[in-house]
Amino acid sequence: MSFITWQYLLFLPLVLVLYWQLPGRGRLVLLLVASYFFYACWDVRFLALVLATTIIDYLCALSIDGKKMGTVWVLLLALLPGVWLSGCSLFLPASGINWLIVAAAVAMGLAFFAGHEVIWHLAPEKRRRAYLILSIGFCLSILGFFKYFGFFLDSAHNLLTFMGLQPNRVLLQIILPVGISFYTFQSLGYVIDVYRGQSPACASLLTFATYDAFFPQMVSGPIERGRHLIPQLERTQVFSPDYLQDGICLILVGFFKKVFVADNCAILANYAFAPGTPLNGYWAVLGVMAFAFQIYGDFSGYTDIARGSAKLLGIDLAENFRFPYFSRNPSEFWGRWHISLSTWFRDYLYIPLGGNRGAKWETIRNLGVTMLLAGLWHGANWVFVLWGAYHGVLLILYRVAPALRFLGDEKSSSLGRGILAVALMWILTLAGWAIFRSANVHQLGLWLAALGHWQAGISLPWASSALWLLIHIAPLLLLQILTWKYRDETSLGHLPWPARGLIYTLMLLLIVSSTEHDTEFIYFQF
């Protein structure tokens, strides 16, 4: 179920009404059922993966904390994903689940059970580490298989062919489960926090399962930390009118960004990056600018709706975007763009690798590895790896070459220098989006080649399309200017209430003026 469907606009109020009527424990049950229903609306089969991730990480974290569940319970839980899949095969014959898939799930459950039981008998410190490896191993195996197996198979085939060999092509059609990268990373982050002693293991399976599958942020983030979300789920919330005010405001801003900004910019971006489109320099620039606002409106809009939906339940989700296109340098950009992911990579990869504590070359290595993997996280495609590498190079240059500090840092007080730095960073960001949006390296080459051709006859006239783009980004920029001072993209509370009322009205009108271009959120595919 997508946020921008009428189903969600009915689902959410229904959940809200029931949620605030139920007592503490009942609310968690409701949230878990609602979250699983929300996810099952996409594909009921893949709930087995959500269950598997939840069970593996719950049991491992508990064991890391020195608390072990009874053997029979562990076995029953380990077999639950297999049971779910066999239920799908029995009651949903069209689901394509056959005995082989069920057997694989059961075998995986038994393997986990065996590993879990064996590890418990190790010495305490070894045991903690082994449970961490077990959790990471299983979760990344699931993620790797569903997201990257086909990609690596294909890449290996291409490499062998390039080397003059003739390998047999193995084709494996694997459907990518929605949101798998998000909930896997969230769950893994929790286990690592427990291992580090930064967070206690969650004793309640119900609470942990709700944390892992919390519907507002499950499929596209923000990637929440256990220590931030779990205590909120455990606390019995008392309704406050602020929840309603803030939640509705966030949802409205989210819809505005997605429906008015992103979906309308997508029309131009999709044309410019479609195979076979004749591009000149104007359209190459217009297309990538349209994509920059499309992906920003799309993803930050999703985040705002997610935060708004959670806020209505009395739960605060992490901020994910903070005026990223006003960044003055690459480091600042990653502190403003997809904050929950960049901090995840910082805390669980960059810092464990050594961060910037070692020699210069070690910092360069750590930044490079982190950004390459951050790029790959976005999808099984070489352009994402290239995009990660590109941003890695920008970060490395910014860090190791003091001469490049002219891009400006946050402490810089000169307005002129700040504007210049923002403009330069904007151009660098656009170049990154061109890599990101290209379907493959060949298309990226065509886009770059178009920058060398500025004759009008090659492509369509661009001026009216540029006006279309401007019409759709100007209100967004105006909103950002209004909220800039308060460091929160959705903060309108400082304005007098009549002005806010007019802004809400205007936003609603802009949303409904664009309702027929509905498209799915981009980040669902990641």
Binding site: W6, L9, L10, F239, P241, L244, Q245, I248, I267, L268, N270, Y271, A274, T277, L460, P461, S464, S465, L467, W468, I471, W497, P498, R500, G501, L502, Y504, T505, L508, L509, V512, S513, S514, T515, E516, H517
Partner: protein, 344 residues
Amino acid sequence: MRITKCLPPAFFLAVLLLVLGEVGARLFFAKSVSGRFEYGYSLNAGFDECPDGTVKLIRAGGRRFHPQSFKKHRPPGTFRVFVIGDSVPRGPSFKGGYPWLLGQELRERDIQAESVNMALPGYGAQRCQVVLRKALEFEPSLIILHVNDSNKYEDEREYRRSQEFKSWHPRNWPMKVFIFRRLYEAKMEKVFWRLVPEQVRLKFAVNDPDAQVAASEDANEVKARMKVARETTAASVALAQAHHVPLLLVTQCRLLTDGTRSFHFEDHGLDDLGRSLTGQGVYHLSMKEVFSPLPHARSYFSDSGHLKRSGHLLLAQAIIGKIRQAHQRLGLTAFNIELQSKSY
């Protein structure tokens, strides 16, 4: 907890402004709103029947009639012609379309005539039939039905919308609000279509009219819409015959070029259709037959289907010729003026 305590004044103001806008639109523009959500399938939208017996054609319910008026009951001795069709008979302007020029030509021939342009842009055979049903209430002497096949998709889309709007389905709720719907349509027509190049829109057929244009190139689509045009037009002819109202079918043709100076006309089989329906009180005029003998036929067209004013004038005179042939059966006892030669 009371909802008034939960929501701040800003939300109330937003809701109030929207409610006031909607109520105001529905109160002060009630006529314009009427039939709006029937998408051309309302019998009465656009017809304002005044107590004094005058019928006004207005822009209402999505019908963009040229504003005109006539008496509900045909004045004695008046030859009343209603022209029903799509953007082609509607013309480049009210006085540039053949319905107006036909009235002028008839009056120049001392015939007390009123010719009413009831053509609407984008109307296909199905919605033209709805207009025909209403037009038959106003005692026409002759109805000219301009038969085209290019608006089937739009007819179907609007029919689908009209049915959807009758349903309870939540996806229709926002668009049941008049100001929302009007804003959406205004943005689509005044901003989207004007600013975004057709190639960009067609590449992904980002909305229904674009999908229509894309589909218009498809052979199966052409065949399917011909079938609908044929069946619906036959039903419209039967309807006019049942009311004993003479009907002239003007069949559309398209001017096709190969990018050079050469061109030819294509009628998609509409001429055969028109001929096959000719009978008691039903006449036929082929646009292809009117224009194809002319050496500079291309100069009468503004695009592949629409005519310039000169083309409309030529068509009006061809219709005069048809009326002249059948003037006695049409009740015109004196039709004594020969066709004048005019420079187009």
